[in-house]
Symmetry: C3
């Protein structure tokens, strides 16, 4: 939020989070599942995910954060899918058919999201050209070996990114 | 709410919204996803949808409005589906197989819901005899041409309704 | 909660409910949809469900209870699925393929969850060896005949459990 304020950045989020952040003075664009919008920098489509969205406050309150979402980002002829935190779901097949995916970021941490086996199946469902594992090793219950995950991929290229590394499409 | 109180109408909603409105003195019947109930005027079945349900208060609070839903309404031998606000999902095929649909109201606005292309696919998934586009043109981010949408339908009759118009099944 | 405190039991729940209960002093393990975790007593995997999760307080407040969930429980070579409260969804096929199910607890009450017909289809989707109907007859809108449900099952063994009865796998 500090960063967004400093740079007067446009924050794109689901309607609930966008509204919440607009109350805090941020510049937001609210969307919801299945909706796409053409921005200056490319097109964003919000995709369903299966996960909780509670925002915990310092006063021990749970604020409802709207429907969980992943993001499709389309720009310069490429399509990137960030699954967000989610379990595996079959409509990943539909998403891959409707929007051929060049790069997918998929959670592999287990416990809170898909584990490596479900994520490998997700990669197959999505038919993504390249897959980068995310959401693991940040604390004990989601300890995983991303290199083992990449070896499980049959039809997708897998790439492990270290913090600070980038990828070119 | 004023109307419902004035006419002592029965408000059918998901459990959370029904409970919330009962606190305000309304006469409600709570349901949830997948559940059907036979009322005097016909049968209602609550269908999953993918959308946020936050109810924003004047005090900048977000009240959780339960799981998003569409509605199947069955009466006089006809079945009407109102998808609510939602993204496209493959179980629309299952819904159409379980409950042959005479008329479907589908959002086409994009940004917050399906856009025209996904909605045309939804109509095909549902195998609905007739489709009426909804949830568009009420404010700038969801500007759409409903007549262009109707032309995209391959196997479904499409009908654009103006405010105040009605349709006979 | 009294019982959990008395026995210092570990409460496994989605992240939101686990956090809420930890504020009340309980010992919790939070998870979310699609995530699995190996506990001392067996493995638990959290499965999507379609249902509301509002927790109603005595002060007429609705607390968001996270994403609705069912549970897969794997121990001693057996797999048990408790669907929770949910409507029918096609990914039950995927769950049954990924995790062959020995015993499934399925709601049949209708109104708030699947009714008997959708639950019979769920049993088929899951390809569960044995099915026990739950979530019915506890109050008027969900009155059902569990024995009639069991007769609807084509490929699954159905067992009606009375309160206090148990089943051996």
């Amino acid at each position: 939020m500090e960063l967004a304020k400093k740079h007067d950045a446009l924050v794109i989020a689901n309607f609930e989070v966008a509204t919440y952040l607009s109350w805090k003075g941020l510049n937001t664009h609210g969307m919801s599942i299945g909706g796409a919008y053409e921005f200056d920098f490319g097109k964003v489509k919000m995709i369903q995910a299966f996960h909780g969205t509670g925002m915990m406050t310092e006063n021990n309150e749970i604020i409802y954060g709207g429907m969980p979402a992943g993001i499709l980002f389309m720009a310069e002829g490429k399509t990137v899918y960030h699954a967000g935190d989610t379990g595996l779901f079959s409509d990943m097949k539909l998403i891959g058919e409707r929007h051929p995916i060049d790069l997918a970021f998929l959670p592999i941490g287990d416990n809170f999201t898909m584990g490596p086996e479900d994520a490998a199946l997700a990669a197959e469902f999505l038919n993504a050209k390249e897959v980068v594992p995310i959401h693991f090793n940040t604390f004990p219950p989601i300890k995983q070996n991303p290199h083992a995950f990449v070896k499980m991929l049959k039809k997708n290229k897998g790439t492990v990114l270290e913090a600070g590394e980038s990828i070119e499409l």
